[in-house]
């Protein structure tokens, strides 16, 4: 196979893979006067205009349209946007609520300190790009991992199970509609893990949200 044939075969293979991007959100921080506020999130997702928007909502919540316990970025921004545009919501959430990372003594103090660092990182970010890629994103990912490590109970295991569930649900969505442009919008602490897991599957192509 010459170089041109190889390039053509690669192009065909790439075309057959569903493009998936993962965008991280900041829950209640979107209410604060930061560049990545609720309005910026709506504008960004409206601009990306994905075919399918995977949200961390359980199928039960979706069918009952029971959105009272959802984070503000879902309730106030993404669900209303999807409702009045062609963006189709795909619920990918699992059944069980995640335990909040916590501990007593020095571990508890460490968790509190790490949370403050993450909050500072996110509040001082220049926009969604800074939250979702680059050094700030990677550092925040390490801090989240450290918080899980310091916390007591089953937080690490629960996070792993939750992100496994989200990943498989995204794959199902992508396989049901391989030609769709899929945007996954979840809390920023899960982005890194989900992107990494999705990259291990041949039938999806993990793209940056700016290039979906």
């Amino acid at each position: 196979m010459d170089h041109r044939q190889g390039k053509q075969a690669k192009t065909v293979a790439e075309k057959e893979r569903t493009r998936v991007a993962v965008l991280g959100t900041l829950a209640e921080f979107h209410h604060e006067p930061i560049p990545y506020d609720m309005s910026a999130l709506v504008d960004l997702v409206a601009e990306i205009n994905p075919d399918l928007l995977c949200l961390d909502i359980t199928p039960e919540q979706w069918h009952k349209q029971s959105f009272g316990n959802l984070p503000p970025e879902y309730q106030e921004a993404l669900l209303p946007l999807a409702h009045q545009t062609d963006i189709v919501v795909a619920p990918i959430g699992g059944g069980q609520a995640l335990p909040k990372p916590q501990a007593d003594g020095w571990r508890g103090k460490a968790i509190k300190r790490l949370r403050n660092w993450i909050a500072t990182l996110q509040r001082t970010a220049s926009g969604p790009d800074a939250i979702n890629q680059g050094w700030r994103h990677h550092l925040a990912n390490y801090l989240y991992a450290a918080i899980r490590w310091f916390s007591v109970g089953e937080v690490e295991k629960a996070t792993r199970e939750h992100t496994d569930h989200l990943t498989h649900a995204v794959l199902q969505v992508a396989r049901r509609d391989p030609d769709a442009r899929v945007l996954v919008v979840v809390n920023v602490q899960y982005c890194h893990i989900i992107r990494g897991r999705l990259r291990t599957y041949d039938d999806v192509e993990v793209a940056a949200y700016t290039a979906l």
Binding site: L44, A46, E47, I48, N49, D51, L52, P80, L81, H83, Q84, T85, D86, V88, V89, A90, D129, V173, R176, D177, D179, A180, R181, T210, A211, L212
Partner: protein, 228 residues
């Protein structure tokens, strides 16, 4: 522009003409709809002549807010703007009125007590030529429209399970977005299924496909994902 995806939005924008005889209503609709995603207001007019003088690029929807919905007006607009979506605002739904204006060429009707989000969705759907009707009256309206049509033999038509689901939902008066949401598919994929369905049924529009489905009891099959 910071993100390189802006062209998508430009391609998907529905151009809207507001047609209302009252100045206040025109201004109100304009103010209400100009910031809605996917909609670009191309003009607000008070007379039929003014509509004829505006030529926005497709897809175009004329949102008509008049005290009375007259079939003659629908036919007049349709005669000069064959490819426009014509969406009429009404006080309440009346099956006879719905059937009459659909026969005259309207794309759909929506009541004044709808939400802004619902109106936006309806405008976008009308821009694609979709029938916009309340779901509780859609099947009845289609049956009324189909009355008198010859029922072609549909036994030789073979639809895939997905196509049957799409056709069932279409015949229940769902828009493409609602069909897509019920089946967790993209709107573009639903449109592709509809093109295949039209080909297999030998029809050229969603109205004909919906009437075919009503005539062949598709709305009663209960096989849609939305019902499961």
């Amino acid at each position: 522009m910071r993100h390189n995806v802006s062209n998508w939005n430009r391609l998907l924008t529905t151009n809207l003409l507001i047609y209302a005889t009252s100045n206040l209503h025109r201004a109100a609709w304009q103010a209400l709809l100009e910031k809605q995603p996917g909609i670009s207001i191309e003009g607000a007019v008070g007379t039929f002549k003014q509509i004829a003088g505006i030529w926005p690029s497709p897809p175009v929807v004329v949102l008509v807010d008049m005290p009375l919905v007259q079939s003659e007006l629908v036919s007049k607009i349709r005669a000069i703007k064959a490819d426009y979506g014509l969406l009429f605002l009404v006080e309440k739904y009346d099956l006879d009125e719905i059937v009459a204006v659909l026969r005259a060429g309207a794309t759909g009707l929506i009541t004044h007590d709808t939400t802004v989000a619902e109106l936006s969705r309806s405008i976008i759907a009308a821009g694609r030529g979709e029938i916009v009707l309340p779901q509780e009256l859609a099947t009845q309206a289609l049956i009324a429209l189909a009355r008198g049509d010859d029922v072609k033999n549909g036994s030789s038509v073979v639809l895939t399970e997905r196509e049957q689901e799409v056709l069932d939902l279409l015949a229940r008066g769902h828009t493409n977005k609602n069909i897509a949401q019920a089946l967790f598919l993209s709107v573009r994929t639903v449109e592709a299924h509809l093109r295949n369905i039209y080909g297999k049924l030998g029809v050229s529009s969603r109205t004909e496909a919906a009437i075919w489905a009503v005539n062949h009891d598709h709305t009663l099959s209960g096989r849609t994902a939305a019902n499961r």
